[in-house]
Amino acid sequence: MDSAVIDVLLAVLGGAIRLGTPFLFVSLGECLTEKAGRVNLGLEGVLVFSAMAGFAGSYLSGQWWLGVLLASASGAAIALLHGLMCSLPRVNDIAAGIAIMLFGAGLAFYLGKPYIQPQAEQIPSLPFGVWLGADPASPLAQALNVNALFPVGVVLAVLMAWGLANTGWGLRVRMVGDSADAARALGTPVNAVRVAATTAGGFIAGLGGASLSLYFPGIWSEALSSGQGLIAVALVIFARWQPLRCLWAALLFGGAGALGPALQAVGVSGHHHLFNAMPYVLTLAILVWACTPRRALQGAPAELGVIR
């Protein structure tokens, strides 16, 4: 019995990293976008499209890193479209996000049709467990076989936290997000900064798409994302717009997603649809807990009127 509990815990740990990586990238991308004062619900569409593009890139070229690059570039392109749309007068960023969500998914399903069957060159995994001296066959080593993009995400989270707080670029992004009037008074082009932040956010989210289609589950299918991009958007609220907290939140959500399969592996089964719904329920619970109806949320960029 004890070993079963340990197996479940190890599987959850491994799953937290494996499933949390896409959450990490999308939430970092959304965090950057929202710091500049815009909401990009379209990251769901970005995630689906970049997963397809990454898979196609890796499949066609045989090089996983080309796939990753293509995923990021296409993510940036779609986010750029969102950024430009939102810069038009009278265009609401929530509505634009919904449009991009459906647009990105439709485009990905159309272009991704030929890639549903084949296998593509995968992102390599880093055997942290073996480096730490564990037996390569042990569950611990298995759990610590980590997507090579995950350390990139961790570094990115640290870099973003530092950059937002300590660089001129970071200051501009935060200023545009906190007071567009102040930014205008200082001659900072508000829309340009926001479009740039949105595009960079899409680039980062594209890495999440690549992790989905090129690491876990490592295939391209139309049901690949099913709302993970949107969960990541909610996760940013939970993380109070702090990149480092996005990291912990992403791991928490990855763990929640891994709980179902882990329990199934030790014989608790029959409810896999309900377990698959766990991340959604957890997100809702966390939103209920983290939001307040009356005042602005702590840490929220002031220009972010709508994400309550």
Partner: protein, 384 residues
């Protein structure tokens, strides 16, 4: 930035000619613009889609022709179009009604799926009278299920300030998981081997076709739903109060309107419409609840409502247009070998352009020089 507020526009500008806030010319121009902008955007969407399929190596003219033929070419495709349009009218209401109360709800798919499930599950739980009374009970169950689901998103917004766009979509995913869990579990008909389904509805409970056609009564329900919603919004005090809450929450608070109740109720009405759509799909088309119900009708309804600018009467023609595109999709697939997602791509282009076209509002006349404002009277750009 407040969501689209229908006809209550805070940024209406005075007429450049007579300087009145509410003159006939201005109102006419507004209406003409509200028709012209989406029409232009849809034309642009079709054009871009043509370029897209051309880049993919297909003949765009042939694609456009098939889109039209598959949608409105003959009596058969027209009936097919109306069959597709019926649920779209109802799922679009699930976006439009909350939108008029100021909420952007996109979880219609979940309400539809639960409505279908409730409709299929009710006969397993209680014995129903045969005939119209039994069918009515089925549809009431479907509407209640949908209403509860969307009202939940509205209530979370009112109670905790949870963003309803995110919560309604997440609730939609939860609903689909619940649906699959039950349909593949306790509600499963043991006879459904390859495709898990609930036991088929008794024939006496089916919804039949309109006399003389192959179109089922769902179309009548869709039309009635849109008419009823328009009546409620524009001809009742309650509907007016809802629009005030959606247009200007502060003003609504000042005059003492029960904003929270109105918002949750508008969400419940919208959810009921989407749930009804699911119930009708089960009672008239599939005759049991299974995965065929989850085909994205709720998502297409979002687009329909946005194109119709959340106006219930405008939803009817827009739903028929997009129903036509859906109906033509299979023709594109068969004749030209396009992927089944091609209609989704077309809709994506349309959605992006419809939103972007709002930027032209108030400038369309100037663009085509229909109405030249006198020099010096041109109003400045409004704050957004």
């Amino acid at each position: 930035m407040a969501p689209e507020a229908g006809t209550l526009r805070a940024d209406r500008r005075p007429c450049p000619r007579c300087a009145s806030d509410d003159c006939q010319t201005m109102n006419l121009r507004d209406t003409a613009e509200s028709l012209a902008l989406p029409a232009l955007a849809l034309a642009g969407g079709l054009l871009l889609f043509g370029v897209f399929v051309w880049a993919d190596g297909h003949d765009p003219v042939q694609v456009w022709r098939l889109l039209f033929l598959g949608a409105f070419g003959d009596a058969f495709s027209l009936q097919n179009t109306l069959l597709q349009a019926a649920p779209l009218m109802l799922t679009a209401l699930c976006v439009a009604l909350p939108a008029r109360a100021g909420l952007t709800v996109i979880g219609g798919e979940g309400a539809l799926v639960l409505g279908g499930l409730a409709c299929a599950a009710l006969p397993m739980l209680v014995s129903l009278p045969a005939g119209a009374a039994g069918t009515a009970l089925l549809l009431v169950a479907a509407m209640s299920a949908g209403a509860v689901w969307i009202a939940l998103a509205g209530w979370l917004r009112q109670w905790r300030g949870v963003n309803e766009t995110i919560s309604s979509l997440l609730l939609g995913f939860v609903a689909i998981a619940l649906f699959k869990h039950l349909v593949e579990g306790v509600l499963r008909d043991p006879a459904s081997l390859n495709k898990p389904s609930t036991p088929p509805l008794h024939e006496a409970l089916h919804i039949g076709t309109l006399p003389g056609t192959d179109v089922h009564w769902g179309l009548a329900f869709g039309l009635a739903g849109c008419l009823l919603a328009a009546f409620w919004l524009h001809a009742t005090t309650h509907g007016f109060a809802t629009r005030v809450v959606g247009g200007n929450p502060r003003a609504a608070q000042l005059v003492g309107l029960p904003a929270a109740r109105l918002v949750v109720l508008a969400c419940a009405f919208g959810g009921a419409a989407a749930g009804l759509a699911g119930g009708i799909e089960v009672a008239a088309v599939h005759h049991s609840a299974n995965a065929s119900l989850i085909v994205g009708l709720g998502y297409t309804g979002i687009l329909v409502s946005f194109v119709a600018r959340h106006h219930p009467l405008a939803i009817v023609p827009v739903a028929i247009l997009f129903g036509g595109f859906l109906a033509a999709g299979s023709l594109l697939q068969r004749r030209m070998g396009l992927p089944d997602a091609s209609v989704q791509v077309l809709m994506g282009f349309c959605f992006v352009l419809v939103l972007a076209s709002e930027a032209l509002r108030g400038r369309l006349g100037e663009l085509f020089a229909l109405h030249k404002p006198p020099v010096g009277a041109r109003p400045g750009a409004t704050a957004t």
